[in-house]
């Protein structure tokens, strides 16, 4: 039996399935269904068809010539997930899991969302596949992402405001879990990042690995070589694990960029891998931002999509096994990354990947010509215009 023939519940010491007893059966059922689906050519064909004709894959690999000139170092390549349908990588996973839900015979989908990108992707797929959809979203995030809230409603989803805790992504996950415990027999919880109990981190990583598989092939075709460095932002970490995973066995430096918010020293940040320590939250053993008593801390980032006190367990494993490095970039630096890509290349990134862009430009300068650097551009910036304007002191 090959290592791939069975789903492993752990990534080193991380991962696992720390769930209330009510949900144990649903996770076992999902694991079996996914294991069967990934070996079923009919499932793969349907997924591939939708990724091509509905999502618009493969997304381009773009050589950022102007940014490269400005940095004067490595050639910079951008994997354009912002050009996927709905404007972010989230759709890759939403389609895959929605097809799984149909296989499970579950007519109702629930999801959590931070920035709203995963909520929009889920609502979109549910509209297309005729599934009922409820999206849990912290009321603080509803306030800062009103455009995405309206998009979800137009797509037929119910957006449920979450008023508990810090009213952001982690609380939306708690509330989605409470819904799932109540409606588990009819409902699939479509988790949006590579987090949560086994088998979610594996499922989400597999559906997002299309990013890295395409990018790897495109690098070979367009650059004639693999990148020396691959960089992506990390909140829960689904776009990063999707980009990194196909390069794990290659001599490619992998760098994840977390949100330092107002600064890691201020306590107002979301830099889980940089500043946290291992624990168990939302069903998985992973790095967490927590106090000495094991209470989860409130987080901050200018980008709602990175505002999460945990991280996917596979990233914790990549960190402790030293296969990947993790750094943190603060709100102001992310805005600089945002402006740099917008001005130099005419591509307006979301605030989440703006963190990765800032760090990538720094790394590119340290690399020589003849080296190649790959950035995962996880989403486009339309949703963030109000936030960016406010940060720049502009009233729209």
């Amino acid at each position: 039996m090959s290592a791939e023939a069975r789903l492993s519940p752990r990534f080193g010491e991380f991962g696992g399935r720390y769930v209330p007893e009510t949900l144990v059966g649903a996770h076992e059922e999902l694991e079996e269904a996914y294991d069967a689906a990934r070996g079923d050519p009919a499932f793969q064909d349907e997924l591939d068809h939708l990724l091509k004709h509905y999502v618009g894959r493969p997304t381009p690999l773009y050589e950022a010539a102007q940014l490269t000139r400005e940095c004067g170092g490595a050639r910079i390549w951008i994997k354009r997930e912002d050009l996927a349908h709905t404007g972010a990588h989230k759709i890759n996973n939403a389609i895959g899991q929605a097809l799984l839900a149909k296989r499970l015979g579950k007519p109702r989908i629930i999801a959590e969302t931070g920035a709203g990108q995963h909520g929009v992707a889920t609502a979109t797929v549910c509209a297309m596949l005729g599934l009922e959809c409820a999206v849990y979203m912290g009321s603080e995030d509803i306030r800062r992402q009103s455009l995405n809230v309206f998009r979800m409603k137009m797509l037929g989803a119910t957006v449920v405001p979450v008023e508990s805790g810090s009213r952001t992504l982690k609380d939306a996950i708690n509330e989605a879990m409470r819904d799932w415990v109540t409606n588990v027999r009819t409902t699939h919880y479509l988790i949006g990042s590579a987090i949560g109990p086994h088998p979610f981190p594996t499922i989400v990583r597999d559906f997002q690995s299309v990013i890295g598989r395409e990018a790897r092939q495109q690098m070979l075709e367009q650059a004639g070589r693999l990148p020396d460095v691959a960089i992506a932002c990390v909140g829960g970490g689904s776009n990063a694990i999707g980009l990194f995973h196909p390069f794990v066995d290659d001599p490619v430096r992998l760098i994840g960029v977390e949100a330092a918010g107002e600064g890691v020293g201020t306590g107002r940040h979301s830099a889980t891998l940089v500043a946290g320590r291992p624990g168990v939250l939302h069903g998985t053993r992973t790095y967490l931002l927590q106090d000495a008593n094991g209470q989860i801390l409130e987080t901050h980032s200018i980008s709602a999509g990175l505002d999460y006190p945990g991280v996917g367990p596979e990233h914790s494993w990549l960190k402790t096994s030293e296969r990947a490095e993790y750094v943190a970039v603060d709100d102001q630096q992310a805005l600089e990354g945002f402006k740099a890509l917008t001005r130099a290349e005419g591509i307006i990134p979301a605030l989440e990947p703006s963190h990765a862009i800032y760090h990538a430009l720094k790394v590119a300068r340290t690399l020589g010509p003849g080296q190649d650097l790959l950035i995962g551009l996880s989403g486009r910036g339309d949703k963030d215009m109000h936030t960016v304007a406010a940060a720049l002191g502009v009233t729209l």
């Binding site: 769930v19 209330p20 805790g165 409470r178 939250l281 939302h282 927590q290 008593n293």
Partner: protein, 256 residues
Amino acid sequence: MFERCRAEGRTAFMPYVTAGYPGASETVPLLLALEAGGADAIELGVPFSDPMADGATIQHANYVAVEQGVSLADCLGFVREARARGLEAPVILMGYYNPILAYGEERAPRDAAAAGADGFIVVDLPPEEAGSFLAACRGADMSFVPLVAPTTTGARVEKLAAAADAFLYCVSVLGTTGQRSELPPELPEFIARVREHTNLPLAVGFGVSTREHVEAVGRIADAAVIGSAIIAAIDAADEAHRAQRVRELVESVTGH
């Protein structure tokens, strides 16, 4: 405790209260009031910032306690003090895994036993993940109480029973903790199904809130748990009368 209740021909009554709610100084008097009202055992909630299996009432109690910085160490302090003031009922610490991990999962059962607690219910720690904590509980003579849900298969009940030593906690409904007007109609069938696979005493909680509920649970199981209704009684009284009000609620439910 279960033998004694059985011998007396009655259902064991196990109320729940969140430690540190509404204030740290009130927990010990509330524990004593629960026993005075007729509690046979007490579930003491260890506060957690993200109580994902709890409904609004107990969520709120958790947040208030966490805001005041009430930790697992504080919970053990409450038990120690309550024992010193004469509490005799077994105390089961109920909560989530991360505060136990942060405290140290080797140390937690040992220190809990020393403080006078009797067991742990950890909502997000199924036996498959409980290896080291279960061993630490056994080593410290602390009970590990698994939960059983309506979605639990018969084969799995046997697996859960194998990890248990004192009793199984049956979650009456699909859903979170909280008061409901009726017990679920499928409850007798669910409990009967669990009974087919184990001889351990069975406690039933989630959605149990009135004397009628407790009596109905008593016809099919060994113990009834009330949580949110206790918190609601605390909320309805002013500070000077909370312990008395909670005692009266327990008396009315147990028929003392």
